[in-house]
Symmetry: D2
Subunit: 207 residues, 4 copies
């Protein structure tokens, strides 16, 4: 991308590196997002498959894990203008099949779980409080969509004082263009970009 | 953009339309962002020029106006990991020349003003409280950068229950690719996209 | 209270008066708070009885209604240091009997509902977003406890730019001293204090 | 207080104990709060004197320090309904003498500083982000008023996942009744209560 030179000149895109305590956040890997006829598409299902591996490794090494899913609990009025912009979101009612976590990525007892009503996993949840209580300063991020809830959550993770780590193999979007544009922006401004192997290596204490 | 078809099929990109009471938010039009050697570039200065016109019209018609600027008040520790990712941000100390609003877009007494330390104009400010107190439900957004603070503020405006209106002529970025990608995403998910003429027409009570 | 004179001299305790659009918020009227052996006591059950009347009137007149209840969804780690200070709170798991709304105050479909993990009904929920989207500027508050979640929610209602209206007959606490002290503080700093009759009269359009 | 028995029976008032990293927060020790003719009274000046000692010790031992003060930056519209309830607050404009920190408690370069517009030191500031970035999990609290901004900040410190430590000698209020009632409530629900000596001993590494 030819835009890169001005970012480099202005000091964007430095490496954050890992902090003291990591956690894993998985965003919106729900049934409806696994289905291109509902809210899925492009590389979301592949990102879900890779996240199954990442989650297994995180659990094996005692990494704190947070699961967040999108749903309306109030026939759409609680998701506000988001439902006016994207009416399909109103169909994700909290108990419907499409709003549930996909079977291979179900939370275990003791893992953090929240329903959210907006893009960011932090907005209208107490995710940041839980991370503070758990002593977390470094947040690995998986989920969908890259240009929607992953990006919004990454911006907020940075704003809340955390080190966001976007696991490239584990984030997906409904279309390629927005996916790649958001990867670029997040890597320049807010987050380090890692492969699944690098994330697993870190969770295993090898980096 | 060929990605558009899946967005259309999934109901993205509907029109919000105006609500009951509008306000104008101007983000980070500061001296350092007018200078490509600091944090500026591409079409930011042009967006500033157009915003001078928009601000004049807003004032003439009594539209509530909020000005937000980026600065560190604590040698960079208060901007957290953002300063690790983009070290130049640490140079924008609250009293330095580069951190001031550009001369043609200075706030007037009685207009809302906040210093922020992160991307979103809402994060770490009480902007949403002021908008609620003023009865605002529709937020016109100008400022820079499109893919940074404008986008983060637009996401939050949506999350806070507002109708975000991005004024296309009045938002700028340091590079064209990220600018256009964020315009697309915001128009699909969070905001209506308007021209300067449409915004001025609305402020004047003609729409 | 002899302390009153300095509050008067310093201008505390003025009347807010009603705004443009009211809503009703009911906080933590759950099974466990109806039981003095769990988290109840003093006048909470009486406040619940009076709130049944208030809720009926609110529904009859189309007042937007929000219900918030306290629960842990993560074996206590999601409520953080609150569970260290008050270990009983960990027993209010999201699906247990004590954590459910009392039968006479169950939400109806379309009313706003959130689970919260801290004192304030606003913290870690998107209540303020829903209120903004509904055009609400005046918030009637019922619930328990007066010195705990009612007070924390009233402080936040004020901070979010709203006019808090504490309905005296409809707020209860586990002990009289803290109840009365918080009523005094809220009336001086954040909220107007109303009787059930005054609230019903307003909902009915008579004030 | 005879109310205490029900609190004990319901498990309230357990000890939090210190965490891994402490910080000191000083709230609203401003010129106008040192003056009973403006917003001061009762034991505020004494609490300021004791805080001078606490601050000196904190600095000597490298404890991170945050200073927050109350002010309007927008002729009162930015403080919302708080200014309707307490009109005197509108006189604390950001540059006026009464809104400045008292001379003996001025921030040093590198210490966290924010202007706030509501009771809580966390609301409309990025205090929680800074604390996260600094790795803080335990927050010592000094300031005024006990029943206003100290209490609101203590509630929020708990909600954000921190261990609040209220330093009894270093918090003051304009009247005795509300001061004591809030000390009781905070000790039962949110915070450990410490003397100045205990706080200094901890900062010095002796506890």
């Amino acid at each position: 991308m030819s835009d890169l030179s001005i970012y480099e000149k202005q000091s964007f895109g430095q490496k954050l590196s890992f902090g003291r305590q990591s956690a894993l956040l998985i965003i919106d890997f729900q049934v409806g997002f696994a289905n291109p006829e509902v809210l899925g598409g492009y590389n979301i299902n592949e990102a879900m498959d890779k996240t199954v591996i990442l989650l297994k490794t995180a659990r094996e090494h005692g990494i704190p894990i947070a699961h967040v899913r999108y749903a309306t609990q109030c026939e759409g009025s609680d998701i506000g203008t988001f439902a006016l912009k994207v009416p399909t979101l109103k169909t994700l009612t909290v108990d419907c099949a499409d709003a549930q976590f996909v079977p291979l990525l179900m939370p275990l007892t003791g893992e953090y779980v929240s329903v959210k009503r907006h893009s960011s996993a932090f907005f209208g949840t107490n995710l940041s409080s839980w991370l503070t209580f758990m002593g977390v300063d470094t947040l690995f991020i998986a989920g969908c969509t890259t240009s929607g809830c992953v990006r919004a959550s990454t911006i907020d993770a940075s704003a809340y004082g955390l080190r966001p780590m976007v696991v490239l193999d584990c984030v997906g979007d409904r279309a390629q263009g927005p996916h790649e544009a958001s990867i670029f922006d997040m890597g320049q401004k807010y987050a380090d970009l890692l492969s699944l192997d690098e994330a697993m290596s870190h969770f295993s204490g090898k980096s």
